[in-house]
C-alpha cells in the first residue's frame, strides 16, 4: 500500500486509482484479451476507478483555453445530477472536463475523448486529476442514454466489455436497460471498501 501511495504521488493520481489501475493492468496482461490504444475497461473497472458516478442531463458545454498562457483547449461540461450513484446529490450540478474543443477560430481534436451534447442524458463515471474531473477511460466513462421504441431508457454500450473479449461476446445484444446497468454499478459500489476501511488498511 505504501508503494502504491508513493507511485500515486509520483504519477499525480489518487492512491486508490493507481492501485485499481495496477490490478486491472495486471489482469489485462495475464489474459489474452485485446486491448485498445485506449485500453478497454469493463463496467466493474470503470466503477471501481471512479470518484463520482451519476446519471444526469448535460446542461452546458463550454470550451476554453487551459490557462492564459496555454493554447490547449479543454471543454467543461455541466451535468445536472438526476440519479446519484456516488458522490453527486440529485439536483446538484457536476462539471466534467474533456480534452479538446473549440474556442473562437481554433479547434482541437483529441482522439478517444468523450463527446457530450446539450440535452442528452449520460451515465457518467468520473475521477479527479489535477483539480478537475474527467470521464474514466476517456470516452468509455461517458455513456450515452437513449430511449428505445417502447420508451425504455437504455445505455448504448456493450457494458460487458465486448470490445475486450472477441467475437462471442461482441455478438451479444447491446443496449441494456439503464436500470439494469445502474443496479450492476450499485452492486460494484457496495463491494468497494468505505473510507474508514481504506484508512484502517
Amino acid at each position: 500500500m505504501k508503494s502504491t501511495s508513493r507511485l500515486a504521488r509520483v504519477l499525480g493520481f489518487r492512491p486508490m486509482t493507481v492501485a485499481l489501475f495496477t490490478v486491472w493492468l495486471g489482469l489485462g496482461l495475464l489474459s489474452p484479451a485485446r486491448a485498445s490504444v485506449l485500453m478497454a475497461m469493463d463496467l466493474e473497472t470503470l466503477t471501481n476507478s471512479a470518484d463520482h458516478v451519476l446519471v444526469g442531463t448535460v446542461e452546458k458545454v463550454e470550451s476554453h483555453y487551459l490557462s492564459a498562457a496555454s493554447r490547449y483547449i479543454v471543454t467543461d461540461v455541466t451535468v445536472r445530477s438526476e440519479r446519484n450513484l456516488l458522490g453527486v446529490p440529485e439536483g446538484t450540478r457536476f462539471v466534467v472536463r474533456k480534452l479538446g474543443g473549440a474556442v473562437g477560430e481554433l479547434g482541437q481534436l483529441v482522439h478517444g475523448e468523450a463527446s457530450y451534447q446539450v440535452g442528452e442524458q449520460v451515465l457518467l463515471f468520473a475521477s479527479e486529476r489535477q483539480g478537475a474531473f474527467y470521464a474514466v477511460g476517456m470516452a468509455q466513462g461517458a455513456m450515452h442514454i437513449y430511449r428505445d421504441s417502447a420508451g425504455v431508457r437504455r445505455v448504448g454500450v456493450d457494458l460487458a466489455g465486448a470490445e475486450l473479449s472477441g467475437p462471442a461476446l461482441a455478438a451479444a445484444p447491446s443496449g441494456r436497460t439503464l436500470d439494469e446497468v445502474v443496479s450492476q454499478v450499485q452492486g460494484y459500489l457496495s463491494r468497494r471498501p468505505t473510507q474508514s476501511q481504506k484508512r484502517s488498511q
Binding site: T17, L38, R71, L109, H111, G112, Q130, G131, A162, E163
Partner: protein, 330 residues
C-alpha cells in the same frame, strides 16, 4: 456454348469491377461544430521526436523507428498524394505546442502529464488508459467549408509510464516489468501518424465513441460498429479487411500488423490529398529551424525547386509563344 461464354465474360467483368472498386472503408476525422473533414492545406509537414526519447530505447533507434513509421505511409502514397511528411532529426528537447506548426513526438515516462504552461497553471495529467494521444489543432470556421478543419498542428504524446515501447525487430520479447504493457513503437506510431494526417478510426466503438455523429466513411456511409466487424469478420471478407486496417481502433500487446498501412488506409490519404490538388506550399515552421542553421530542408528545397522549375517552364513557354507570334506576324 454462347450462354457459357457470356457467363464467363460476366464473371471476368465482375471480377475486374471488384478489383477496380476503390477501397473505401477509411474514415476521415471531422470537425465537431462545422462537421467538415480535417485536412492539411500544405504540401509538406514536418515531424520530429523530442531528443529526450524514452529510456528503454536508444535515441538512434527511436529516430529510425519514427522514420520507418513515416515511410510506411510515404512510400505507398507518394505517387498519388501530394502530402509530404518530412522527418527532422531529434536535435533538441521538444515540448508539444499546439500552434507552432511542428509535429512533435513526445514520450512521457515519469508522469503521464503534459507539463504546466507557466507558473500560474497546472500540468494536465492524462487518463492512464490512453497509450498514446494525438492532438490535432485546426481552424474552426463552421460556416466556411473551404477553411473549416484546416490543420495547423498535430502532436503525438506517448504514455511510457504504463507502456513499454520497444522495437520488435530488435527484441521480440522485451521484459516489460509488472506494470507496463508491451507496445511495438513502429506499430503504435504508424497508427498515430494516420490520425496526424487526418484519418479517424475505421469503426465505431459503440454509441459513446467520440467521433461526431455526422462522420461518414469513404463511401459516404455511416461508420460501421466495431462489434459488427468483430462478430462478422470470419465469414465476411469486407469486414476482415476493415479489421486489418492500420486505423482499426484496437491493438494486441506486441502487435506489429499495423506497421504497414493497408489499401483502405492509403485510400484515405490519397483521396484527401490527391496530386492534382497540390497547393505547393512547403514552409519549414520557425520551431523546426535549427539554431543558427539554414531553414530549408531537403524536402522543402525539392518542392521549392519543383515550383521554380514549373514557373521557369511556364515563362519559357510564354517566351516561345511570343517569339512564334512575332515571326508569324513578320
Amino acid at each position: 456454348m454462347r450462354v457459357l461464354r457470356s457467363l464467363l465474360c460476366l464473371t471476368v467483368a465482375c471480377g475486374l469491377w471488384a478489383a477496380a472498386t476503390p477501397a473505401a472503408a477509411y474514415v476521415r476525422s471531422y470537425t465537431t461544430q462545422g462537421c467538415h473533414p480535417v485536412f492539411w492545406a500544405q504540401t509538406c509537414i514536418y515531424i520530429t521526436p523530442d531528443s529526450a526519447g524514452v529510456p528503454e530505447m536508444a535515441l538512434s533507434d527511436v529516430e529510425r523507428v519514427v522514420q520507418q513509421s513515416i515511410n510506411s505511409w510515404q512510400t505507398r502514397t507518394r505517387d498519388s498524394s501530394f502530402l509530404r511528411m518530412n522527418y527532422l532529426p531529434a536535435t533538441a528537447p521538444r515540448d508539444v505546442n499546439s500552434l507552432d506548426g511542428l509535429q512533435v513526438i513526445k514520450f512521457y515516462h515519469e508522469q503521464w502529464c503534459r507539463p504546466a504552461a507557466d507558473a500560474t497553471s497546472n500540468p494536465v495529467c492524462y487518463d492512464p488508459a490512453a497509450a498514446a494521444l494525438t492532438t490535432v489543432t485546426y481552424i474552426n470556421k463552421p460556416t466556411d467549408a473551404a477553411t473549416d478543419g484546416r490543420i495547423v498542428d498535430a502532436d503525438i504524446e506517448l504514455n511510457a509510464v504504463f507502456n513499454y515501447f520497444y522495437d520488435a525487430d530488435l527484441n521480440p520479447n522485451p521484459d516489460t516489468g509488472l506494470i507496463r504493457r508491451p507496445a511495438d513503437l513502429w506499430n503504435t506510431l504508424t497508427h498515430e501518424i494516420g490520425h496526424l494526417q487526418g484519418l479517424e478510426h475505421t469503426c465505431r466503438r459503440g454509441s459513446f465513441d467520440s467521433m461526431p455523429a455526422c462522420t461518414r466513411d469513404g463511401q459516404g456511409n455511416q461508420v460501421i460498429s466495431c462489434n459488427v466487424v468483430e462478430s462478422g469478420r470470419s465469414s465476411n471478407s469486407d469486414l476482415q479487411i476493415i479489421y486489418e486496417t492500420t486505423m482499426y481502433p484496437t491493438a494486441d500487446p506486441k502487435e506489429t500488423r499495423k506497421r504497414v498501412p493497408h489499401a483502405d488506409d492509403l485510400a484515405g490519404v490519397i483521396n484527401a490529398y490527391p496530386l492534382v490538388s497540390d497547393p505547393r506550399i512547403c514552409k519549414l515552421p520557425e520551431a523546426g529551424v535549427p539554431k543558427g542553421g539554414c531553414s530549408a530542408t531537403a524536402g522543402e528545397r525539392a518542392t521549392q525547386a519543383g515550383a521554380l522549375s514549373a514557373a521557369g517552364l511556364l515563362t519559357a513557354a510564354l517566351a516561345l509563344l511570343i517569339l512564334h507570334r512575332r515571326r508569324r506576324a513578320r
